[in-house]
Symmetry: C2
Subunit: 207 residues, 2 copies
């Protein structure tokens, strides 16, 4: 899988087949990139419009930060598959090899790290979805709201992938530290999403 | 945009630029296809495993229905962009043309129809996400949960796109009928999603 070469159809086929990669983690990273791209679109449709002149600077910031996020998310999608493959390789080490446990635990830690990066990135995107939802061009407001939905679902996907890996990690301090940071992130993401959902309702986009 | 030719990176670029298409509607359709593909992956990883033999038939159904959904969603993504372009063309008709109002209203109705199809399709996918979340291979359970998140967010994206189009439609009966059906769909989707979220929490995937 290569974001610059794989077509949308090929990616769907690769996800659907019997191989566990690309799985939820890589899909979550791609969906988060779509979320960032929607924020950029709303910013592009807002910049240069007299009516929204006072938000010009905020929208320029959206463009810049979302470009950075998209590049990072491409890396995360690739790293997610690599980390999974390392875990699979470690599982296949013969059980009588005394190094097996250590190698597997290290691989699992890396496999928890990657969705953690995704979780942090979705939080960043959601902050910008809040900006486009509040101040973006009203003609593209459904796109800003869509961006928020995708960032939120990518966060939850990241959370599932962190937790499934943590469940096999024996280093209790590592698990405790990751769970605490994930909980903080979740509280922040839930708060941002709740604010945007209230805005959506106020603006008549909830039936 | 062509799902068989457009790469993931190209799609992101097309979403992010100043042109409003592809926008949230097309992205929602692609994301729903990812959701269906994840359900297929979980089914593929469940079929043939002794431990899950009793769910073999359900998983075969998942495969079949999700393949159908994916094909339909490809069409929806294309139709969404076409419908939007028709609205744009109608808006550009000179205001002194007596046909303008009628043409624009017809275009808006079609533009509301397409995300409505998406909304129905995400409801179908979510039903199968519930099956994979309940009975799928436990090693791929985070992928089943991820599928549910993506189907849910695609539903909400569809809802925003139906409502933004309805807001410009003058035919009150049309608007009333669509809003009623959308509300029914929303109640069903919210119920399905709530059930899956409870399952996720019970299984320790909520921090």
């Amino acid at each position: 899988m290569n974001v610059e070469k794989t077509t949308l159809k090929e990616f769907c086929d690769m996800v659907s087949d019997k191989s566990p990669v690309p799985g939820g983690g890589a899909v979550g990273a791609i969906v988060a990139a779509f979320s960032a791209a929607l924020n950029q679109m709303v910013a592009n449709l807002t910049i240069g419009k007299k009516k929204y002149a006072e938000y010009e600077e905020s929208m320029e910031e959206v463009l810049e930060h979302m470009e950075y996020s998209r590049n990072k998310l491409q890396d995360i999608a690739t790293k997610d598959m690599e980390a999974f493959n390392e875990v699979m390789k470690a599982i296949k080490i013969p059980k009588d090899n005394p190094e097996r446990g250590k190698i597997l635990q290290e691989a699992l830690k890396k496999a928890a790290d990657v969705p953690f990066e995704l979780a942090r990135e979705t939080r960043n995107i959601l902050k910008y979805s809040q900006i486009t939802s509040k101040f973006g061009n009203k003609n593209a407001i459904s796109d800003a709201y869509s961006s928020a939905e995708l960032a939120y679902s990518s966060f939850r996907i990241a959370m599932y992938n962190v937790l499934i890996n943590l469940s096999s990690i024996k280093d209790e301090d590592f698990v405790k530290e990751y769970k605490e940071e994930l909980e903080d992130l979740k509280n922040e993401v839930d708060g941002l999403y709740k604010n945007i959902r209230e805005l959506i309702k106020e603006n008549g986009f909830e039936i």
